[in-house]
């Protein structure tokens, strides 16, 4: 590990030398290509400037910031309960999952714990956001590679999950359902049975995608061995979630961290893949979606009765202190560093989003790849612009 920097330097020098040689041999002239800001592979507006030598990328620079909304500043003029409205919009495909770490951080500072039923429902909704988020990725993946069908299948089946989220919380995209001390409401009648049905449909969807896309020769050729990230580099850049596990690092905050959610009550497998290439990243996400449906099933079976809200003061003042809580969100590790000075609102909130770190590796990973692979690598890293720009 300590010689990593040296190795990186050496590989950089080697890459530079190879580029120079290529230039001399072929007498090629570099060109600069602008990918984005509007491109289907970018889930928002991300611009990537690549310098090309022939078909090969020699330098790449992602340029974010088209969607910077200044949430860290805005949290400083909000009260604690108001903050969830903002942070819902960070990763807009898995909104409920954004609320959970912030609420847990506030609860840690206030030293209260949500009742068991609230924790279980939180975990169920958390996993439903994961399914809603990642199923769109699985459909969208086909589009990047020229296949249109998967995206229709994804939108068809994702709709069932969004309906469930809407049924429980009242909001399809931005539930704003989590409260300090518990949840806004209990589950509606009949929701549990319906969720079981939907989870079956989603497992069928995963099978369909696996057969249609992952077994496809074109898909395999375009993703296998492309954009390989070794585990040491992945950790250095703080890659998290499926991107980290695809590099063979067995790390999942749901399993490896003591946290006030019901993950220790269920039995699930953390998938890893040794290859670290684009295929591995996509494959891990597929497995995780299927695993999430199983987690939801188990949670539905054992959901305890009782209240969904702990006794909390009506005016929420959070005592002085600092807390860091992160959870395994659909895109990776998302956490909030909350500093409170005993006021109605936070003094400072540092929002650590998964996509920010996941995309910071792009200049490293794109060096030396070919232009069509840029799109598959970006798609497989899977980011959401709201999650980069905050």
């Amino acid at each position: 590990m300590t010689d990593l920097i040296d190795r990186q330097k050496l590989s950089y020098i080697a890459a530079q030398a190879a580029d120079a040689r290529l230039n001399v041999e072929l007498e090629t002239e570099g060109m600069t290509l602008n990918i984005g800001p509007q491109h289907p592979a970018t889930h928002g507006t991300l611009r990537i400037i690549v310098r090309l030598d022939g078909e090969q990328v020699v330098w790449a620079d992602p340029s974010a910031g088209y969607m910077h909304r200044g949430y860290e500043k805005l949290t400083e003029v909000r009260t604690f309960p108001q903050v969830t409205t903002l942070i819902n919009r960070i990763d807009w495909l898995g909104s409920f999952a954004n609320e959970v770490p912030f609420i847990l951080a506030a609860e840690q500072l206030m030293d209260i714990e949500a009742p068991p039923r609230a924790q279980w429902i939180r975990t169920i909704l958390f996993e439903l956001s994961r399914i809603a988020n990642v199923s769109l990725f699985l459909g969208d993946l086909g589009v990047q590679l020229g296949a249109i069908t998967p995206v229709f299948m994804a939108f068809r089946d994702r709709e069932y999950v969004l309906n469930l989220i809407e049924g429980a919380t009242g909001g399809r995209f931005h539930p704003n359902f989590d409260r300090i001390g518990g949840l806004k409401d209990d589950l509606p009648k009949g929701w549990i049975d319906e969720t079981r049905q939907v989870m079956k449909k989603l497992r069928n969807f995963c099978d369909e995608i696996e057969n249609l896309l992952f077994g496809n020769k074109i898909f395999q050729d375009r993703t296998r061995g492309i954009g390989v990230i070794p585990p040491a580099v992945a950790q250095q850049y703080g890659l998290s979630g499926a991107n980290l596990r695809a590099s063979g690092v067995d790390w999942d905050l749901r399993r490896d961290q003591k946290i006030a959610l019901a993950y220790d009550k269920v039995d699930f497998k953390v998938w890893t893949h040794p290859d670290g290439d684009s295929f591995a990243r996509c494959w891990i996400r597929l497995q995780e979606t299927r695993e999430a449906t199983k987690i939801v099933d188990q949670l539905l079976d054992g959901i305890p009765s009782g209240p969904v809200m702990a006794k909390v003061p009506r005016i929420i003042k959070v005592p002085e202190g600092e807390a860091w809580v992160s959870t395994e969100n659909p895109l990776g590790e998302m956490g909030y560093y909350v500093v409170s000075q005993g006021d109605l609102g936070p003094f400072r909130v540092k929002i650590r989003t998964a996509s920010f770190n996941n995309i910071s590796i792009v200049p490293w990973v794109l060096r030396g790849v070919y232009v069509p692979d840029v799109i598959t690598i970006l798609a497989s890293l899977y980011f959401i612009l709201g999650d980069i720009d905050k």
Binding site: M1, T2, I5, Q8, A64, G65, H68, G70, E72, K73, L74, E76, V77, Q108, A232, V233, Q235, Q236, Y237, G238, V249, W251, D256, Q257, K258, P313, R314, I315, K317, E320, G321, E322, A323, W324, S326, E333, G335, Y337, V339, Q341, D343, L344, G345, F347, R348, K350, R352, F356, N357, S360, I361, W364, D389
Partner: protein, 220 residues
């Protein structure tokens, strides 16, 4: 996971860190079974990253800064037509204390031992108009690159040794550092926060006296 076991785990981290950087480890806060904070001297900031990485903290989580100055604009709820109220400018530091207005802090995780640590360092005060400087972590963790760029544009802290401190979000010609506490949130100055006039009684409240008591921190 029993609390006692993780306690020795975190104490061991502190011991190893102290062995690496000596008395430049200024302060430690340990909440057993929960988390660990450490503050190091400014000069030891880069060595701290290196020592932690060698100790097994290979996973870089984030790096950012805190401006401990109390906001001169309060919570942005002042009536713009009234003269601004007097506010305390006394700096109150959080865990592990501090001596300066700006602190950088970073978090790294050890994936083998399932433990993370937050380290902080003071950023030395400078004359008005100059940028405070601290060493960069890019040589310790390549992932610190973007975090330091973000921190530079938001707080105006320069990182010595960083290869490229371009803005990430803001236009190049943007003036000011938005996350500093003395940078006004302009939206609140242009249009007052509707919460000032829109005071609805909370459910079950009924009378005005509870409204006044709310400001005093009444609970229940």
């Amino acid at each position: 996971m029993p609390a006692l076991a993780s306690d020795t785990l975190r104490e061991d981290i502190v011991d190893k860190l102290r062995a690496a950087i000596g008395d430049q480890l200024l302060d430690v806060k340990l909440v057993p079974g929960t988390d660990l904070w450490a503050r190091v001297a400014t000069e030891a900031w880069r060595d701290t990253g290196l020592a932690l990485r060698d100790q097994g903290f290979h996973y870089f989580c984030f790096l950012s800064a805190i401006d401990w100055l109390p906001s001169p604009y309060g919570r942005g709820e002042d009536d713009p037509t009234e003269p601004a109220p007097e506010r305390s400018t006394e700096i109150v530091h959080g865990y592990t204390g501090g001596e300066t207005r700006f602190q950088v802090f970073a978090r790294v995780t050890d994936i083998e031992r399932h433990v993370g640590v937050t380290v902080k360092a003071d950023v030395p005060e400078v004359a008005a108009g100059e940028s405070p400087v601290i060493d960069s972590w890019v040589t310790n963790y390549a992932g610190a690159n973007w975090h330091e760029r973000e921190c530079h544009e938001m707080f105006g802290i320069r990182f010595a040794g960083h290869p490229d401190l371009r803005n990430m979000y803001l236009p190049t010609e943007f003036e000011g550092y938005p996350l500093r506490k003395d940078f006004p949130l302009l939206a609140r100055h242009v249009k007052p926060w509707p919460g000032i006039v829109d005071v609805e009684p909370l459910p079950g409240e009924g009378d005005e006296s509870a409204e006044a008591a709310a400001g005093e921190g009444a609970s229940e």
